[in-house]
């Protein structure tokens, strides 16, 4: 970033040249097959951090695959996003990468991701993709009808709430939008009387992930069926944003980009946040970040509007274009997707395994003391059934940015939901027309 600041795009190009000097593979073999007598080193880029289920799986994999050495390189989410295109375009692509599912439209449309069919024959550990994943996940893994990712963990939203506070205030878990509004209003407190809620408030994140949840529940969609025109400014979209605004006014705490940490952990720790809607990965985050609140939190299905619905995301395992050891990388990917190793997504990282067999592993159905002895995973699994990914269009990055801008504009009271979304839709249509 420092280089970028000094020389702009020239530095990008410089970085690309420099990246070519980086040896990402210790193997001279350029073949795509995995001959048993051929030693290979695959390079894996992993953004899971210190609690990585991928790093944990390497010793066992290397034991059973004597000719394949796995070299894991840890990168944070932002670095991965910046370095991945540079590495691929400079011919220095790693062999396997953990990629946020929201990156897929941009990366796939840019030609950065390999079609997995040639290397997998659409099979994972001897089973067809369709037998390994549910329908929502299968849809999210495809770009232009070809598989470009194998989903490793999934993200679908449920309601996290402070069960102790809810109980103390004599409230019940909300199941509909109307009930949710009432509950949020009763939960949140303005302790210093400055007009803003500072205790047990609902975290309101002005991002397209959370808007997607409400949009889907209100019967709306981001784009039309052909993905050629914006539809998020329909009555359903405007209603969804107006409802978001009502939640904020009733008892929400605005958690914009300046808060930095979108998980809301600082607010959870100091109890400004008493409710939030987020994915299963937050179970691990909250346990690590607020161990003193063990037993005080619970998870429930997100309150329903006109219908069920959620944003669907997560992490996909992708093989970049130009990967030198695609077959060996796929071997490792299959190993990671085996049910016993999928369990580690939960036990090591506290996230949700994406395969149906992984979700059925015993560790995921054990009562969780942190969440009052309940089994939160069943709610996330149910949410996944009706979840949908973002539209898979090349322009999504720009459209997402316009939507976020509209959400901020409306939630900060600078424009009505309709005006804000109309402006964003105009910008999105212009992008799509390109």
């Amino acid at each position: 970033m420092k280089i970028m600041k000094k020389h702009g795009v020239a530095a990008v190009a410089a970085a690309m040249l420099t990246a070519t000097a980086v040896t990402v593979s210790g193997c001279s073999s350029g073949g795509s097959g995995v001959a048993s007598d051929e030693d290979q080193t695959i390079v894996v880029w992993d953004y899971y951090g210190s609690a990585s289920p991928i790093t944990a799986a390497v010793p066992e994999f290397e034991k059973t695959h004597k000719n394949i050495t796995v070299q894991v390189e840890a990168l944070d989410w932002d670095s991965m996003l910046d370095k991945f295109p540079v590495a691929v375009s400079s011919g220095a692509a790693p062999d396997l990468v953990t990629a946020d599912m929201t990156w897929l439209p941009t990366f796939a449309s840019g030609g950065l991701l390999s079609d997995l069919t040639p290397v997998s024959k659409d099979m994972i550990n001897g089973k067809a993709f369709s037998d390994v994943y549910n329908a929502g996940a299968l849809g999210a893994m495809k770009y232009n009808d070809t598989y470009v990712a194998a989903m490793y963990d999934f993200d679908a939203y449920c309601l996290y709430y402070r069960s102790d506070v809810l109980k103390a205030k004599g409230l019940t878990v909300p199941t509909t939008w109307d009930e949710f509004l009432q509950t949020v209003s009763s939960m949140a407190e303005d302790t210093d009387g400055d007009g803003t809620f500072d205790k047990y408030a609902l975290q309101i994140l002005p991002d397209s992930f959370h808007f997607a949840q409400l949009l889907a529940q209100n019967g709306g969609r981001f784009l039309n069926e052909d993905d050629t025109v914006a539809e998020f400014n329909s009555d359903a979209g405007v209603g969804a944003l107006a409802y978001m605004q009502k939640l904020l006014d009733a008892g929400g705490i605005y958690w914009g980009p300046s808060e930095g940490d979108s998980t809301g952990m600082p607010g959870i720790k100091d109890e400004r946040i008493g409710m939030f809607i987020n994915g299963p990965y937050m179970m691990g985050v909250i346990k690590d970040g607020a161990p003193e609140q063990s037993g005080k939190w619970a998870v429930a299905p997100a309150p329903v509007g006109k219908q069920q619905g959620s944003y669907l995301g997560g992490t996909g395992l992708v093989i970049p274009t130009g990967a030198k050891h695609a077959a060996a990388a796929w071997e490792f990917a299959q190993f990671l997707l085996a049910p016993e190793n999928q369990e580690a997504v939960f036990t090591a990282a506290g996230a949700a395994p994406a395969t149906t067999a992984g979700l059925a592993m015993p560790a995921l159905s054990e009562p969780d003391p942190y969440f009052g002895g309940e089994v939160p995973f069943k709610d996330f699994e149910a949410a996944m059934e009706t979840a949908t990914p973002f539209p898979y269009v090349a322009e999504w990055e720009s459209i997402d940015s316009s939507i976020t801008n509209a959400l901020e504009t409306a939630l900060l009271g600078k424009a009505s939901p309709k005006d804000a979304l109309d402006a964003a839709a105009k910008s999105a249509d212009s992008e799509l027309a390109k």
């Binding site: 970033m1 600041k5 190009a13 980009p257 300046s258 940015s401």
Partner: protein, 273 residues
């Protein structure tokens, strides 16, 4: 002897610059062949409201920081050019933020300006209700500018201090003998003497100000409502969207503006001298 340096410079600086200049006339994702589009990327930018906002924000940041920073640096330099107790300590203290990583400084300022941060707590002591400085589109960019001025004015102070120490004392003495008071000595002797230093400070400062990125990245990520979106931040966004052609065009527009401003400053300096 200089061949290795020239080769390295050429390979790592001039060649990529030339490459990205060519890309600025293409549609290019980084893979495959760039597709020639002529001036389309530049024309798109000129009609892009988001780019206009980024340019305006950047100009606001540059004007604000360059109006206050050098003035503060000069005032501090004049104060610390006098004999006083603890002078070395103060000089080091004011320069310390310059040596600190910009990201660290931004992170600290973010904590200070947060809802429950020290700034709001201090205001609370006087019965003043705090403000969400970084979450309000009206105050986010000024807040970033203030943090940047605090971080950077120590550099300007050192440069002015070095120049002031080279000021021949007999010039000031002669002015005093002629009856000039402190203000007239400052206006008619010190300021003209510092003119080349001002040019240096403004050329370097403006180049840095127009490339503001780190503070925005850490403190607001371009929000809220794009109120802190800057040109370089927008460039990175285009890069992340794999639109290398437009990202390159933004970089060259920035180069053109900075080159123009630097040329203007040098011309003005020559005219005044």
């Amino acid at each position: 002897m200089i061949a290795p340096a020239v080769i390295i410079l050429g390979l790592l600086t001039f060649w990529p610059m030339a490459l990205s200049f060519v890309w600025s006339f293409t549609k290019y994702t980084g893979l495959g062949d760039p597709q020639w589009v002529g001036f389309q990327n530049y024309l798109d930018l000129l009609g892009d409201p988001l780019f206009h906002q980024a340019a305006l924000n950047t100009a606001f940041f540059a004007v604000t920081t360059m109006a206050v920073g050098p003035a503060l640096g000069l005032a501090t330099a004049i104060l610390l050019n006098r004999k006083m107790r603890g002078r070395a300590f103060y000089r080091a203290a004011f320069f310390l933020p310059v040596t600190t990583a910009l990201v660290a400084v931004a992170a600290v300022w973010k904590l200070l300006l947060n809802d429950g941060g020290i700034v709001n707590q201090a205001l609370g002591l006087f019965g003043i209700t705090g403000h969400q400085w970084l979450a309000d589109p009206n105050t986010a960019l000024p807040a970033i500018a203030i943090a940047s001025i605090w971080q950077g004015f120590g550099f300007e102070m050192v440069v002015f201090l070095a120049a002031l120490q080279g000021l021949p004392p007999d010039l000031l003495e002669a002015a005093s003998i002629d009856g000039a008071g402190p203000f007239r000595r400052f206006w008619h002797v010190v300021l003209p003497y510092l003119r080349p230093t001002f040019v240096f400070v403004y050329v370097i400062g403006l180049i840095g100000a127009f490339q503001v990125f780190d503070q925005v990245y850490v403190m607001t990520q371009g929000g809220p409502i794009n109120s802190t979106l800057t040109v370089v931040y927008y460039l990175i966004n285009r890069f992340r969207a794999l639109d290398l052609g437009q990202a390159s065009a933004i970089a060259y527009l920035l180069v053109a503006v900075l080159a123009g401003l630097s040329y203007l400053q040098v011309r003005l300096a020559r005219k005044w001298s």
